[in-house]
């Protein structure tokens, strides 16, 4: 097999797997920090219980994120030596600053966050949680600065050997697409975590586990979803218009638009045929694409044919990935608004059908993030540095066999990690946030525990911690 394809497959697989964990931990670190702060300031045990519960999941996910991220920092050298050679002057310092200002900050305070609450006190624990949360955000900032430079390069010159040299660091770091990309990704992480927290809290509400804590978490998550989901859609619109200006062929692939058009239609669904350069089975809504892209009914949108086919990305991949992302965004918006309406009618905690819906949307954010990254990265092809360096010229002088072997290795290992994570995280989730020792509940027989919901069913928000600890429904 072609080593370029293999190297791309490996990179797509390892980074696609990796991005799931930061997406989760960027948002969750902030949620845990908020819980730690609330526990410190209010002293309400419900915040402590929630914090301990979510820290357990955070610890598991953070470990996986750290080790799969370590892979990325070396894979760029092992598989993409040509790229490393060309861009080291530009991207090297950005990666170094990420390690320096983000990874160390996370690693330095994560021990205190996970194990140090008793040793340092509530205030310092809150501070440590904030440092970890800031670390995750700094990490996102640097890596998205690097990615944005690859999408919309600026502040550099390339010499005859194809080596990039930096002229202006500000322009390198704050490129045209960077603010939109950063806002879109960070908001994506917060939205994803909002729906994860909502979904898992909904599960606990359905199972009547620690009802008081689960209600607080469900309520917080639905507030976040209500505020952030529309915000994310607005940011996405800005990001799209930015792409129209700076990467028109990517945007044309997203829209499935072949000819440069005034009053471009919105293609709901179609099969983009690259050979014939047209859409098959298209369902179009006239003029709408021009409206949301240019904010004018007759605005001009550049089509794919404006550049030669050798500079087209793989149109179907970009086209469908974009529709998956937007589709999920619309579904999540509907869920968030429904939650808001139910809250107004004071039925947020009672509507069991809505809890089932929330449970079902738990993984949606992750799918949307993967689809979004597929859109932007596959849409950048055939360039690795947009308009300057082709992906095919960027690989390392290693044999296809070596890449195939390591790809197989990553595939097997990551599959094992995902299964093991799902197993352990599942057990933590089923155990639920406890106000008493979880260790004790482990020994409650399922048959005994199943009789408990009847007792807890009538529990209201003023349930005492003792009652809510009868959440002994741990799977055998």
């Amino acid at each position: 097999m072609d080593p370029v394809i293999l190297a791309r497959l490996q990179f797509a697989f390892t980074i696609g797997f990796h991005i799931l964990w930061p997406t989760f931990t960027v948002g969750l670190a902030s949620f845990v920090a908020v819980l730690s702060g609330l526990w410190w300031r209010t002293g309400r045990t419900v915040y402590r219980d929630l914090m301990h519960f979510w820290i357990k999941l955070f610890a598991l996910a953070f470990g996986v994120g750290a080790v799969t991220g370590l892979v990325m920092s070396y894979e760029i050298g092992t598989n993409w030596a040509g790229f490393s050679r060309s861009v080291s002057n530009v991207l090297g310092p950005l990666f170094m600053y990420e390690a320096l200002t983000a990874f160390f900050l996370e690693a330095g305070f994560i021990g205190i966050m996970l194990f140090g609450e008793k040793r340092v006190g509530k205030g310092m624990h809150f501070f440590a949680c904030c440092m970890v949360a800031i670390g995750t955000l700094m990490s996102a900032t640097w890596i998205l600065a690097a990615n944005s430079w690859m999408q919309t390069p600026a502040g550099d010159v390339a010499d005859a050997d194809g080596i990039f040299h930096v002229v202006d660091w500000w322009q390198v770091i704050i490129t045209a697409s960077f603010p939109y990309r950063l806002a879109h990704m960070v908001c994506a992480s917060f939205v994803t975590v909002s729906f994860v927290v909502a979904g898992i809290s909904a599960l606990h509400l359905l199972r009547r586990q620690n009802v008081e804590a689960s209600r607080v978490a469900f309520s917080m998550a639905m507030w976040m979803a209500l505020i952030l989901t529309p915000t994310q859609i607005v940011i996405g619109d800005f990001h799209g218009r930015n792409t129209l200006i700076h990467q028109p062929s990517k945007l044309a692939a997203m829209e499935g638009l072949w000819d440069t058009t005034r009053g471009a239609p919105m293609t709901l669904i179609a099969w983009p045929d690259m050979k014939r350069a047209q859409n098959l089975y298209a369902i179009d809504v006239p003029k709408v694409a021009s409206l949301y892209l240019t904010h004018s009914w007759n605005g001009e949108v550049q089509g794919l044919k404006a550049v030669p086919p050798s500079e087209w990305p793989n149109v179907p991949i970009v086209f469908f990935a974009f529709r998956i992302m937007v589709g999920i965004g619309v579904i999540l918006l509907a869920v968030a608004i429904t939650g808001g309406v139910l809250r107004l009618r004071r039925r947020l905690y009672d509507a069991r059908w809505f809890q089932l819906v929330s449970l079902a949307t738990t993984p949606f954010g992750f799918i949307a993030v993967l689809a979004g990254w597929t859109t932007t990265e596959a849409g950048r092809q055939p360039w690795i540095v947009y308009g300057h360096l082709r992906t095919a010229d960027a690989v390392a002088p290693v044999t296809a066999h070596a890449v195939a072997l390591s790809l197989a290795g990553f595939f097997v290992i990551y599959a094992i990690i995902l299964l093991v994570f799902a197993w352990f995280a599942g057990r933590i989730v089923l155990a639920g946030p406890a106000s008493r020792q979880t260790a004790l509940t482990k020994y409650i027989r399922p048959s005994l525990a199943l009789s408990a919901p009847g007792l807890v069913a009538g529990a209201t928000s003023d349930t005492s911690p003792d009652t809510s600890s009868m959440n002994g429904r741990v799977m055998p």
């Binding site: 470990g63 920092s73 050298g77 050679r85 170094m96 996370e106 305070f109 194990f115 004790l440």
Partner: protein
């Protein structure tokens, strides 16, 4: 010498500093993984893992720092050496993945704990062996053509590399044992003192073997060490190393508790100094020097400013994290209040 000549040297010192901190810090927690299956009971293993749990991630971060700093400052070292050591680098990453997730997953299960013990120990040993193979390959040098790596996939395999790997296994085990003597008590500490002997013997033997092999296989290295007047300047390094190794031998059972750990760190520091003497001033030995392989002045200055400003802060809060978890590690009864007891 102008600033343009001095800056690469300064940055090389910075890269060396990060590598030393990585080897010293991750060395002892890899060492604990290496010793993991040798520990007599599950109780000792719990304690061993608990003693590094709050700090291992910070230690491992120096590996990321070293990699990115190399990329930023001596890119040739990054894009030539990583493809050259493709398999050992990838397998080191595989091993570090298993070892890293074992911290999170091992406490979750009783029935399959043995599996995570195995993952933690095997991950630590394989990662260390891979580092040794890379080290040996670095001393022997790699094939280059047109500024890129031009050798084969299995070029990294060498007797010297294997000897370096075994030596690092011994050395990290010695550091791990020293850490346990310092930070634990009771049966775990006795166990650590017992294994420290074997680890020390292994380390000493391999240091001799690696030195001899490097001088024999690579004339430039022999030249560096044995030509006059060099020999008078560099002779103190092996002599002091021998003295420190002997001191450890005599003090394992009688010294102060932190002593073996500190002496172990000194052995590693001396070993690293020896390595620098053997390969200076090369980034890619005998091909690319710190001057010919340095990044743009622009990039060096930008990277260097940040590193100089921020590394002291990093060291300060890492020291604080160590200080928070100071003293002997004790096995805490399982208690839902603390998240360490899943």
């Amino acid at each position: 010498m102008s600033i343009a000549d001095n800056l690469p040297v300064l940055i090389a010192a910075l890269v060396a500093f990060c590598v030393v901190v990585y080897v010293l810090a991750d060395g002892f927690d890899l060492g604990i993984g290496i010793l993991f299956l040798l520990a007599p009971r599950e109780r000792e293993r719990d304690l061993m893992m608990a003693s590094v749990e709050p700090v291992w991630d910070g230690n491992g971060t120096w590996l990321v720092m070293g990699g990115t700093l190399l990329f930023a400052t001596f890119p040739a070292g990054y894009y030539v050496l990583l493809p050259a050591f493709y398999l050992p680098v990838i397998f080191m990453l595989f091993a570090l993945i298993f070892r890293g997730i074992a911290f999170g997953f091992r406490p979750q299960t009783a029935r399959f704990r043995w599996l995570w013990n195995l993952a933690f120990a095997a991950g630590s040993i394989v990662a260390t062996m891979c580092q040794g193979l890379i080290l040996g390959g670095l001393i022997l040098g790699v094939t280059m053509k047109g500024g890129m790596f031009a050798g084969g996939t299995f070029d990294f395999l060498s007797v010297l590399g294997l000897a370096c790997g075994v030596g690092l296994v011994g050395g990290y085990a010695l550091l791990g044992a020293g850490w346990l003597i310092w930070r634990t008590s009771g049966p775990t500490q006795v166990f650590a003192r017992e294994v420290a002997h074997s680890a020390l013997i292994l380390t000493a033997l391999m240091m001799v073997l690696v030195s001899a092999l490097s001088a024999w296989r690579v004339p430039e290295v022999a030249q560096r060490w044995f030509a006059k007047p060099n020999i008078f300047y560099v002779a103190p390094i092996p002599i002091i190393t021998a003295v420190v190794l002997l001191t450890i031998w005599r003090r394992i059972w009688i010294g102060r508790e932190a002593e073996i750990f500190v002496l172990g760190l000194i052995v590693f520091f001396l070993g690293f100094a020896g390595l620098v003497i053997s390969i200076w001033p090369y980034v890619v030995p005998r091909h690319v020097t710190v001057w010919s392989g340095a990044a743009d002045q622009q990039s060096l200055a930008f990277a260097c400013t940040g590193a100089a400003l921020i590394i002291p802060i990093v060291l300060a809060y890492q020291a604080y994290a160590y200080w928070v978890f100071r003293g002997k590690t004790v096995s805490e009864p399982h208690d839902a209040e603390s998240p360490s007891s899943y």
